[in-house]
């Protein structure tokens, strides 16, 4: 089963701390949403409010069109997958997965049948008689997923479920989570602080900071067209170049940076072209300092000198100094950048994003 979720003006205040500050968000049925942000950004509070473990100070939550703001966790069409899995240590896997069904009064035989089918879904049917402590971290994770899905929730809430796994296993579980989500069609709301994980699994990412939503969109749109400085900085590496608006023309605007004047297409201004004289920030991804062929409109920031370089496998990460500004550039792995050599700081005009200082969504 699946349902849409609607969060309206949710605010949560703990003493003097605003954990969640007037957050509104619509989630479509069957969507895989990732709440992304640093610790303390309010993402876990928002998840707890969706699960019913925390009541919002103000605002409303609706799931499938029904108001859920003051409904207890047990009576919500949601289940939560906890970070520490929270499996019942004294029960075998079959009983763990069947627990929610037992609470719903399902007869033993039917319950076991269903538990087995969900253990099958996560590939652990053969271990159904084992206790949680006999399993590896990844396996426990799968049991927690099966247990949460066994009661047919409309919305599954995942609280940093992959945090305790090592990198390789995490990648594997991300793929599995995504595949299972597509199969069952349940709405997934997943909390993480790992931006790569967010990009790997999300249909849409919600970037949060200081209790507010900074940005919402597909992984590509958030990475390529961030709508706030925080969002740009949190999703991967970025160079921020302060600038001042100069003149604006029909489809173009000119900005003055420390590296000279640059003409940018109007589409680079995510939140509209500001008036002349306003302070703005140019966001430039390090990998955009390459591949600017002659066939596309380009922007030049002059030349810079490589002051440091390290090989990262997929690219060389270089520090480039130009007119007192230090930029980070990712150069192709086949290049051989040497410290001291000069680099032409040229990039595609449409790869630059300009944000007004302090701009939010």
């Amino acid at each position: 089963m699946t349902a849409d979720v609607s969060i309206r003006n949710a605010t949560k205040v703990f003493g003097a701390f605003r954990a969640l500050d007037d957050v509104s968000l619509d989630i479509a049925a069957g969507e895989f949403i990732v709440l992304l942000g640093p610790s303390g950004c309010g993402k876990t509070t928002l998840l707890s409010i969706l699960g019913g473990f925390v009541e919002p100070t103000s605002g409303t939550i609706a799931i499938g069109g029904r108001d859920m703001t003051h409904v207890s966790p047990a009576k919500r069409p949601t289940t939560t997958m906890f970070q520490d899995y929270a499996l019942f240590p004294h029960m075998c896997l079959r009983d763990n997965v069947g627990f929610g069904l037992r609470m719903r009064g399902m007869a033993r035989a039917e319950r076991h049948e269903k538990a087995f089918s969900y253990l099958d879904l996560v590939g652990l049917r053969a271990s159904s008689a084992k206790k949680p402590h006999e399993l590896s971290g990844g396996q426990r994770q799968r049991v927690a997923l099966a247990r949460a899905l066994a009661v047919d929730p409309d919305v599954l809430l995942l609280d940093e479920p992959l945090g305790a796994l090592d990198l390789k296993l995490r990648r594997q579980m991300q793929d599995e989570l995504k595949a299972i989500q597509k199969r069952v069609g349940t709405t997934f709301v997943h909390v993480t602080h790992d931006q790569e994980e967010a990009m790997a699994i999300a249909d849409r990412i919600v970037v949060m900071n200081k209790g507010r939503i900074e940005d919402v969109g597909t992984p590509a749109s958030i990475y390529m067209r961030p709508r706030s400085l925080f969002s740009a900085g949190f999703m991967g590496e970025v160079n921020f170049l302060p600038a001042k608006m100069r003149g604006t023309a029909a489809n173009e605007a000119e900005v003055e940076t420390a590296l000279g004047r640059v003409a940018l297409p109007a589409s680079a201004f995510v939140s509209g072209v500001p008036a002349a004289g306003r302070d703005v920030t140019l966001c430039i991804r390090p990998e955009h300092f390459r591949g600017a062929g002659a066939s596309v409109p380009t922007v030049s920031l002059g030349r810079g000198r490589i002051t440091g370089s390290a090989f990262f496998g997929t690219h060389h990460r270089c520090h480039v100094a130009a007119d007192g500004t230090v930029l980070t550039a990712h150069l192709p792995q086949t290049d051989n950048p040497e410290v001291g050599t000069e680099l032409d700081l040229r990039l595609k005009a449409d790869s630059i994003v300009v944000l007004q200082d302090g701009a939010g969504v």
Binding site: F53, T78, F82, D84, F88, H133
Partner: protein, 262 residues
Amino acid sequence: MRHLATALAALYAGLLYLFIFLPVVVLVLFSFQDGTLPVPPLNGLTLRWYEAVFSDGKLMAALGNSLAVAVVSSAIACLLGFLAAYAFARYTLPASALLRGLIVAPMTVSTLIIGLGLLSVLNLTGLRLSLVTVGIGHVVINLPLCFAIIYASMGGHQVNIERAARDLGARDWQVMLLVTAPMLLPSILAAFFLSVTFSWDEFIVAFLLSRFDVTLPVEIWSMLRSGLDPRTNAIGSVVFLISVAFLIVMELAVFRKTGKSS
């Protein structure tokens, strides 16, 4: 030099164990005394004192009473201790630290004082002295212990597990019965068996709060008043044996469990 130190340490350890176990060894040994005086010299070995003990209706009745009081009062103390521990561990209560201290405080009060206090209270309520009043007394003595043991084992890591159970639709009593209590079973069993062994050889409260039906320690005491007799040694050995049996059951039940769970 080093050998000497080792030898001295071994000697010291030997003396220490001798000091602890000599009374018990003497008691058990002279329960087999072939003669009427349980004092050296050992005249020979016989089982006739055990036969006398096991065919003594009053002693056997007292033994049964003791077992019943121990098991029932310990079960009640564990239940009450568990509920109190659950409340303190899972809810924010006003003056929580003070209230917790008050529950544990009776442990520091002598059983004589508790017994006398209970005696006056029972007089006020008009409740007749019986095994029930002894049981009540033992619950009062053992509740702080049961509470302390169970409360100590309720950690924050179980909170999410209980939350998960609630999230899956369990009501509060289902969470306690199906999730919390089974998770805490090792410490609940430890509290139960410890409480049983304390109740099993508790004398003062049992003496003050009983009248016609008495527990074994009280019966042994009245036997002692008529002088030393190898029968007292025999029943003492039986008491010791049963205590050891409780402890072994506890070790098996508790430490095998905790050793396995992760």
